[in-house]
C-alpha cells in the first residue's frame, strides 16, 4: 500500500492509501466528533458531525467516508465547522423528543455528551414534538423511536456483525423510522436472534434492555469490537 502524506490541523501525518480522514486523524491523536461512526461496522456519513474542511474544496466533507490523498490539507476545528456541528446537533434535538431527564441513556448518551462538548446550552429551532411510539413487544429489548437519531448503527450491526438482517429503515426524511423485519412488532420477529448487538450500538436511549430505567443504560461497545477483531484479524483479545 502506498503511503500518503497530508496535514490535519497543520500537523504533518502519513497514512496508508485507502484510509479515511477520520482513521488517519484518530491515529494521529486528533479527535473529530462522530455519531453514526461505530468501530466494527462500515461508515455511511449519515450524521454529518465529522464534517471537515479540505483546502481547495468548497464543500464540507465527512471525515468518516472520504479517503486520504497526497498533499491534502484538512482542518477539523474551524469556526465554520463548529457552527455547522452545533446546528446539526440542534436539529437532531428539535426533530424528535429527546428528554434527557427521563431517558434511559441519561449520562451515557453520545448525543448528550456531544451537545455539552460543543457548548450547546439551548436549541435555537422550535421543537417539533412529533408523536412516536415505543415498541415494547420484544421479550428482552425495547425501541423508543422518540430518542432515535437515525444513525443506523443498529441496522449495520444487525446486518454486518450479526448477519440477521432484522433491522431496517423505512420512510423518508424526518418520517424515517427504524423497523423490524417488514415493519412488524419486534416481538413478532422471526429473524431476530436476540443477540442484543443493536442495543450495544445505539448512541442514545432509542434501544434499551428492558428493566433498565432512567440513566441505567450503559453500553458495552467493546463486545462488538471484540467480535469484529476476532472475525477479521483472527485476534481473540478479550
Amino acid at each position: 500500500m502506498a503511503a500518503k502524506t497530508l496535514t490535519i490541523d497543520g500537523k504533518q501525518i502519513s497514512a496508508e492509501e485507502g484510509e479515511t480522514i477520520l482513521f488517519a486523524a484518530t491515529e494521529a491523536g486528533i479527535k473529530i466528533p462522530t455519531l453514526c461512526h461505530l468501530e466494527g461496522v462500515y461508515d455511511i456519513g449519515a450524521c454529518r458531525l465529522c464534517l471537515v474542511e479540505v483546502k481547495g474544496t468548497p464543500k464540507l466533507l465527512p471525515a468518516c467516508t472520504v479517503k486520504v490523498a497526497e498533499g491534502m490539507e484538512v482542518s477539523t476545528d474551524t469556526e465554520r465547522l463548529r457552527k455547522y456541528r452545533r446546528m446539526t446537533l440542534e436539529l437532531l434535538f428539535a426533530e424528535r423528543n429527546h428528554i434527557c431527564a427521563v431517558c434511559v441513556a441519561n449520562g451515557h448518551c453520545e448525543l448528550q455528551s456531544l451537545a455539552y462538548g460543543c457548548g450547546l446550552e439551548h436549541v435555537h429551532y422550535d421543537y417539533l414534538f412529533p408523536r412516536w411510539e415505543v415498541d415494547n413487544t420484544h421479550r428482552l429489548f425495547g425501541m423508543d423511536h422518540n430518542r432515535c437519531i437515525l444513525c443506523t448503527r443498529c441496522v449495520r450491526s444487525c446486518w454486518h456483525i450479526e448477519g440477521a438482517g432484522t433491522k431496517n429503515v423505512s420512510g423518508r426524511g424526518a418520517k424515517s423510522k427504524i423497523i423490524t423485519d417488514l415493519n412488524q412488532p419486534w416481538g413478532d420477529s422471526e429473524s431476530c436472534t436476540e443477540c442484543g448487538k443493536c442495543v450495544m450500538s445505539c448512541p442514545t436511549g432509542a434501544l434499551f434492555r428492558k428493566g433498565s430505567t432512567v440513566a441505567e443504560s450503559v453500553r458495552d461497545r467493546s463486545k462488538l469490537e471484540f467480535i469484529v477483531n476476532a472475525r477479521e484479524k483472527k485476534q481473540w483479545n478479550a
Binding site: F93, N97, H98, I99, C100, A101, V102, C103, N106, G107, Q112, S113, A115, Y116, G117, G119, L120, E121, H122, V123, D126, Y127, F129, P130, R131, W132, N146, A215
Partner: protein
C-alpha cells in the same frame, strides 16, 4: 455600591431547580450579603418589582398565567436566565405537545375525568384557574433570554458558577458537563 436586585420565578416546573438553588448552602449566606432577593417563591412578595437586575426562571410556559408573568418579568428585568431543562427545552411538561393540538383538553380529561374517583369534572374558574396553553413552550421561544443553564435540575455548583459570573457583570462561561441536559 447599590445592592443587586435578584429574583427567581417558578413557571411550569417541579420546583426541583429551586431545591437545587437551596443546595447552594453557605453560598446563600455570601449571596445574601451582596444582593436583595426581591421576588421568589421562597420570598413572600406578591408583585414582581421594577428594575430587577437578574432573574432565574424555572419552568416551561404551560398556561396563560405563566405567559403573563413571563412578559412582566421580561419587561422589568435586565438579565434573564433560563434556569433548568423545563425553561430551556420544555422538558417533561412539554411531553403533552406530542399529543398534538387539543392535547390540553386530553390532559385534563385524563387527569380529572378518566382517573377521577370522585366528582369527575374539568376545573374551569375563569380568572382563578389559568387556562392551559395549546402548546408548552420553552422560555426563549416567547421572550429574549440572556443566558441558559440546562440540567434537571442544574447542580448547585453550576448555579454558583453562573451566579458568581453574572453578579460580576460578566457573560457567564460554562462548559463541558456544566451544560449537561438532564
Amino acid at each position: 455600591m447599590e445592592r443587586l436586585k435578584i429574583a427567581t420565578v417558578w413557571l411550569g416546573g417541579c420546583a426541583g431547580c429551586h431545591m437545587s438553588f437551596l443546595d447552594l448552602d453557605e453560598f446563600l449566606i455570601d449571596l445574601a450579603g451582596k444582593v436583595d432577593l426581591v421576588y421568589s417563591p421562597i420570598a413572600d412578595v406578591k408583585e414582581y418589582p421594577e428594575g430587577v437586575d437578574v432573574c432565574l426562571i424555572e419552568g416551561a410556559v404551560c398556561n396563560d398565567d405563566n405567559l403573563e408573568i413571563l412578559h412582566q418579568v421580561r419587561a422589568r428585568t435586565k438579565v434573564l436566565v433560563s434556569f433548568g431543562d423545563c425553561a430551556v427545552t420544555g422538558n417533561v411538561p412539554a411531553m403533552r405537545n406530542q399529543f398534538g393540538l387539543g392535547n390540553a383538553d386530553n390532559v385534563l380529561q385524563r387527569a380529572y375525568i378518566d382517573n377521577a374517583q370522585f366528582n369527575p369534572v374539568k376545573p374551569r374558574q375563569d380568572g382563578i384557574v389559568p387556562l392551559l396553553r395549546e402548546r408548552v413552550q420553552p422560555v426563549h421561544e416567547l421572550v429574549r433570554v440572556e443566558y441558559f443553564l440546562p440540567g434537571c435540575p442544574p447542580p448547585a455548583d453550576c448555579i454558583k458558577a453562573l451566579m458568581v459570573q453574572v453578579l460580576e457583570g460578566k457573560t457567564p462561561k460554562l462548559e463541558g458537563r456544566q451544560l449537561k441536559f438532564g
